[in-house]
Amino acid sequence: MWRTSLRAGCRGCRGFGPKGIWGSHAVRRCSAPAPALPAGRITARQAVDVWKRHFEERGVTEPDNSSHYIIAHLLGAKTIESLEHGKLTEFLSREKTEQMWQLCTRRLSRMPVQYVIEEWDFRDLTLKMRPPVFIPRPETEELVELMLTDLEMEPGAKVGADGQRTCLEVGCGSGAISLSLLNSMPQLKSIAVDQSQDAVDLTRENALRLGLQDRLQVYCIDVLKDAETVVSLCSPVSALVSNPPYLFSEDMTSLEPEIFRFEDHAALDGGKDGLKVIKQILTVAPQILTNHGRVYLEVDPRHPPLIRQWVEANVEEMHYVETRHDINGRPRFCILQKKKSNKDHRLDQD
């Protein structure tokens, strides 16, 4: 029993960090013995307390949240607060106890809780999670909220014969943004692209689970290497949204183990100034967007003024509209709009 738990933990340890480099330092930590399964019966509450202590002893961050989310998930709830009254004081079955031990052992290796329980919520959706596909962050929920307010307010460019609006997402990851938009706007159609086949697969899986697959097309394309394909497949759209990799390369090494070891670095690293992918998106945007179409970006707090300057100097067709802040008051979202142009890039009438 103990050996099985340990293997599960090690499987989780196989980080998706820099290709081929698997530090021995991490291997050593992984081989720390997992706490033994209890001999007798324990209650859910007791299991939570045992593991909270284990996490604290081994320096695992968020020791209480981690054990809470895991036990709640095992008992069929999303949060420990929403568990039925009295559930915590009930004895766990042998099977549930083993599952608790197995899942918590994965967390010992610093695997993010979202990967441990293989799901997470984004706004009103529950999405499947799988390493190394990027886990949606809470800030990004606000990006969707922002977009929905905008899209619902303006009568908008009616693209397509059926009057449906189309939106493009670059770097869809698990599909959180696109699926959330589709779920909230029945008249919207979406195209999502990602350079990672894992992300494309997971987005398709989540779309199917939510019954949104009819309104979503997902393609495996790298916008940096293959912009022409994006333009030919995706235009015209009335909105472009992205939570692109925006971290500065030098900041990658100081990331917490949960991120560094388990999430796809290509989904995080935006190059020296974090703007590599952002600049490409903004360069290509005028060819994809309808007139007055908008770009919505999540960025690093240092980016907004840099993006504004760069766009004014380099992308004549795009106008920087505004910067919005996230729940912690940090500049986080950039909204830009395509100026009306007389040239139709698609038709190439020159």
Partner: protein, 162 residues
């Protein structure tokens, strides 16, 4: 100053909700009690975001892609009244924020309307129903008892009582 206006208005018994003046308190009675149960007719106060202070624990780090924390508790404070609402019911920050505001509106409703607040009215409605139910049950028991007594009084020794 403007943020204190709704509070002061309330103290003088003149409250405006959504622009509709409510000059006299509505008499508590059955029609009002019935209406209180329906969610869409509920008259909760509209929140002014300027009067709210929101805190969300994301740690001191840069946030965004650089952080992956699962804590998504939202703490909402209503500055004029000092009421604080904490919500971590769901795994979505966005939903916790919305729920925190719903709870805040309920609490403000109690503070501003006192006896007339939805929470108090619902309670009264429930108590009223309970009271009526009990009364009905007691009346039934009483009727049965009287019927039994009447039967016992009618029956004479030797005759068949079915």
């Amino acid at each position: 100053m403007s943020r204190l206006v709704p509070f002061i208005c309330c103290m003088y018994g003149r409250v405006t909700w959504r622009g509709l003046p409510l000059l006299t308190p509505l008499p508590p009675g059955l029609p009002r009690v019935l209406a209180a149960g329906k969610k869409d007719l509920v008259d909760f106060p509209v929140l002014n975001e300027d009067e709210l202070e929101e805190q969300f624990v994301r740690g001191s780090g840069p946030g965004g892609q650089a952080t992956n924390k699962t804590s998504n508790c939202v703490v909402l404070k209503h500055i004029p009244t000092g009421i604080v609402v904490k919500c971590h019911q769901t795994r979505s920050v966005d939903i916790n924020r919305k729920r925190a505001r719903d709870i805040m509106r309920e609490k403000l409703d109690v503070v501003y309307k006192g006896e007339l607040s939805e929470v108090v009215l619902k309670k009264k409605e429930a108590e009223l129903r309970k009271h009526e139910k009990r009364k009905k049950a007691n009346d039934n028991l009483e009727r049965k008892r009287q019927f039994k007594e009447a039967l016992a009084a009618d029956s004479t020794p030797g005759s068949d009582t079915v």
